[in-house]
């Protein structure tokens, strides 16, 4: 009963505040696309930003949010997560990140996103409003071990808002990209029990060449399917795998290719050239000589995690920290991703470390706001504080790239988002334990 009363009391003001039209004023506004506006205002109507500036007139009876001493930023976007597909890393029953099979373009991450995952409120409490959920394992593209290790084409990545009663309500873009691993000459996967499967370099090379051939053949088959379909050929039968490849072949959906090493990035670029498809490079851990190649083709990259060990033992200690600046200097567009689930909330700190090691601050902020919106083809809706965009906003007491900064209020599509979560509830409960 007591908890019922508490819930009602707690919910009432939230319901009243659930109006998606408001005016934030007196805050420092960081539009990302323009210089910060001191004592600025943001006017939101029906979930959309309709005004940004200094002296905005308040429409009649609109809710006023006093932003004095606070900052307004666009909500942050993480371009590579497992959000909603995994709950507890080591508990297989709670993990849906990697499917069996080599070619799975028909798989849709979005339909397996658990909107009740405890990770969602924990993550958005730190100002992350939108994520890409990849249908593959975590760091290293999930090709280490376990289910999903055999994927070449892993399925469709979803762009989702971190708010909604169902995954449909979370949807921003169902198929934002087709997740793929470029085949590599892998050393045998490390195993916790120390046993090594028999695996020679010759085996690895053969496996690599076989996989590359299979990949080419899969694309060729998909093209034949495309041709047959458009010709309305006699006896044409629907095939879900090839059907899912059509947006990729038509160039409306990018291939998101996990390529860690220079050699893999090279292979991915070559593949994009051969297949004439759009490509996003994911989780590169070195750039090598590939900068001009990526720049010439306007191929963007999803970088991260920045807080990572160098790839090679004799690399400079700060190799992962300086990589974003290396990409920036090479003129390659990039966004940050955490390639993770429980640490998605730390996305801004991945960006901050890149700043400490050379990346201009504005570029770091763009890489978690505007750049991902552009890379995922939603810059008309997300990524900055501009008229006409979705009111995905956070109100903070400082720079969101600093860990000590608190997110005070969060809006997704103009709706006030509850910043409470499992961890805060446990905090309050046990802080008050007698």
């Amino acid at each position: 009963m007591r908890s019922f009363v508490f819930t009602v009391l707690f919910t009432l003001p939230l319901l009243a505040a659930n109006d998606d039209s408001f005016l934030i004023r007196g805050a420092t506004v960081h539009p990302v696309v323009a210089a910060e506006i001191q004592n600025g205002a943001v006017l939101v109507k029906d979930g959309k930003i309709v005004g940004v500036g200094r002296n905005l007139a308040a429409p009649k009876s609109i809710r006023i949010i006093d932003g004095k001493g606070l900052h307004v930023y666009p909500g942050m976007i993480d371009s590579a997560t497992q959000m909603g597909l995994a709950e507890i890393g080591s508990t297989r029953e709670s993990v849906d990140t990697g499917e069996l099979g080599k070619f799975d373009p028909q798989l849709r991450a979005e339909v397996a996103i658990n909107p009740s995952s405890e990770h969602i409120p924990v993550t958005r409490a730190n100002g992350i409003t939108t994520v890409i959920t990849l249908p593959m394992g975590a760091a290293e593209g999930g090709r280490g071990r376990g289910v999903g290790a055999g994927n070449i084409i892993a399925g469709q990545a979803a762009l989702v808002h971190l708010d909604g009663w169902t995954w449909e309500e979370m949807d921003v873009k169902k198929s934002a990209g087709m997740a793929m691993h470029i085949p590599t000459i892998l050393s045998p996967p490390a195993r916790f029990d120390g046993q090594l499967p028999p695996f020679s370099f010759a085996d690895a090379k053969k496996n690599y060449e076989t996989e590359l051939r299979e990949l080419r053949e899969f694309f060729e088959d998909a093209r034949r399917y495309q041709k047959a379909k458009s010709a309305n050929a006699k006896g044409f039968q629907r095939d879900l795998k090839f059907e899912a490849m059509l947006p990729v072949l038509e160039g409306s959906e990018p291939l998101v290719i996990v390529a860690n090493r220079e050699r893999a990035i090279h292979d991915a670029v070559q593949f994009a050239d051969q297949q004439k498809v759009r490509v996003v490079i994911a989780e590169p851990r070195e750039l090598g000589k590939m900068g001009p190649e990526l720049k010439a083709r306007n191929i963007p990259a999803i970088l991260g995690p920045t807080l990572a060990l160098p790839l090679h033992e004799d690399d400079p200690y700060d190799a992962a920290y300086t990589l974003p600046d290396e990409f920036f200097k090479a003129g390659v567009k990039f966004a940050f991703g955490t390639f993770n689930n429980e640490f998605v909330r730390n996305l801004p700190y991945q960006a901050a470390t890149a700043v400490a090691f050379g990346l201009p601050y504005d570029e770091a902020l763009k890489a978690i706001t505007l750049n991902p919106a552009q890379i995922w083809g939603v810059a008309d809706k997300l990524g900055s504080i501009e008229e006409g965009k979705s009111a995905d906003l956070m109100l903070t007491d400082g720079d969101p790239l600093e860990a000590k900064t608190q997110v005070k209020q969060l809006f997704i599509k103009g709706k006030t988002v509850d910043l409470d979560n499992k961890q805060k509830r446990l905090y309050e409960k046990y802080l008050n334990r007698p």
Binding site: T91, R92, E313, P316, R345, A356, K404, L426, Y427, Y430
Partner: protein, 449 residues
């Protein structure tokens, strides 16, 4: 004896070094406030003076640290750095093995940790068994040999482990690949973990008694045979006698409480609870026992027993009177423990000094080396880290690290040496290629297949 010689040689080399004065810095002493424009005199490897002004000896090397922040070297209370092997997991009690025997001073992770401002680490055995191996505290003296890395005079430790890790080997259908071929090892449950520890200490008590009896008889002039030395039980007797610190890996509140009660039963203390992710649920009991807690800033949900982990853990335990530190347990995380400390200001509202204490004086006190390191105070070891910005800013990076007054990391030197290292690497690779092309003279040329 050998150790003493090495220590003497080392001391002599430090004595020979000229004094160093770091000046014009913001000095975060941790225990004695912050000096806005402070200076530090280092002499003979120790902090000789700290203040707005210090004496500058004629032969001193002066380091201008204008705009920079000096703090004590960071201390990591849970690391596996420099350890060539971690787990002796074939038995449930592996107290007979120790990290000191497998220290690898060439582990590149040492240099990388230095570059993150870390000067001291507690190097632990793994968590595969309820009672694991002996632990060693080291300083990041990169370039020195294994013996010289050991923190001289630090209390030895031993690793205990509770929960999912020690019981995993008891469950042959567990998730370890290939584990199905391995016979199960007791225990398979948290009940069994308690039992393993109680059995071991029951045996240790009896062993301790056998030596007491023997020594009494010898004292009485009786001629008796000495008990057979038991290398597994000896470290546990040291625990009972307060000569060895227990560092216990744990997650859930139930198992934390269990261990505290087992320790009470046998009359010893748990020095630190490691990870202790649900420590916030039993903070009162932890404080009453007097155990320290060394936790992650915000790790959670990587396993079932970490599902109730909260980033407020350090703050709650601090508020309830527990001595808390933040640790890395990772060669990566160890490089930015200052960032981890900053998170406790967001989650739970710790002050700057409280946050920095979690990675300096608190772990020093947990390891009982608080009289030597962990703060910028006269008489302490000159283990200092210089940041370009406030260390609790995510934009800060380490510029210089001193241990015993010696410069072990300097970002400028690191950057300057890179072209030379690149040239050297290329030469080695070229040489390797050349050797592959031309077989060494005298080598038997194989006929073509």
């Amino acid at each position: 004896m050998k150790l003493l010689l090495v220590a003497t040689a080392f001391a002599v080399s430090v004595l020979a070094a000229p004094p160093i004065v770091i000046r014009n810095a913001t000095v975060l002493t941790i225990t004695k406030g912050t000096l806005a424009n402070g200076s530090i005199l280092i002499r003979d490897g120790k902090i000789a003076e700290v203040g707005d002004r210090v004496n500058v000896p004629a032969n001193a090397k002066v380091v201008d640290a204008s705009g920079r922040f000096v703090m004590p070297g960071i201390i990591d209370c849970h690391s596996h750095i420099a350890a060539d092997s971690i787990n002796e997991g074939s038995v449930s009690v592996s107290a007979m093995v120790g990290i000191e025997d497998v220290l690898n001073p060439d582990d590149i992770a040492i240099y990388r940790a230095l570059a993150g401002g870390v000067t001291t680490a507690n190097v632990l055995h793994g968590s595969a068994n309820a009672i694991g191996g002996k632990c060693t505290v080291i300083k990041m003296r990169w370039g020195k040999d294994a013996h010289d890395m050991i923190f001289e005079g630090a209390m030895p430790g031993i690793k205990f482990a509770l929960g999912e890790n020690p019981k995993r080997a008891g469950n042959p259908t567990g998730q370890r690949i290939g584990a199905a071929n391995v016979p199960p090892r007791y225990p398979a449950t948290r009940m069994g973990v308690e039992d393993v520890i109680r059995e071991a200490f029951t045996a240790a008590k009896a062993y301790q008694q056998s030596w007491k009896d023997y020594n009494e008889k010898v004292a009485r002039g009786e001629q008796v045979l000495a008990p057979r030395r038991d290398l597994m039980l000896e470290p546990l007797v040291e625990v009972l006698e307060g000569k060895r610190l227990v560092h216990a890996h744990c997650y859930r509140a139930d198992e934390i409480l269990m261990l505290l009660r087992v320790a009470d039963e046998f009359g010893f203390k748990i020095r630190t609870l490691q990870h202790v992710l649900e420590g916030y649920k039993v903070a009162k009991e932890i404080a009453e026992h007097g155990a320290g807690a060394s936790t992650f800033s915000d790790w959670w949900a990587f396993k079932l027993e970490a599902y109730d982990a909260i980033p407020y853990n350090a703050a709650i335990m601090t508020r309830k009177g527990v001595l808390v530190s933040l640790n890395s347990d990772s060669d990566e995380l160890i490089r930015h423990l200052n960032d981890e400390a900053a998170k406790t200001m967001k989650y739970g509202g710790l002050s700057e000094t409280e946050a920095l204490s979690l990675i300096t004086i608190n772990p020093a006190r947990q390891l009982m080396i608080g009289n030597r390191v962990g703060s910028v105070e006269v008489g302490k070891d000159a283990d200092l880290t210089i940041f370009d910005k406030h260390p609790l800013s995510n934009f800060a990076k380490v510029e210089k690290v001193y241990i015993d007054g010696q410069l072990y990391f300097d970002r400028d030197n690191d950057l300057a040496a890179r072209p030379e290292h690149a040239t050297e690497k290329k030469k080695l690779l070229d040489k390797e290629k050349e050797q592959q092309r031309r077989p060494a003279s005298g080598a038997v040329r194989r006929p073509a297949a």
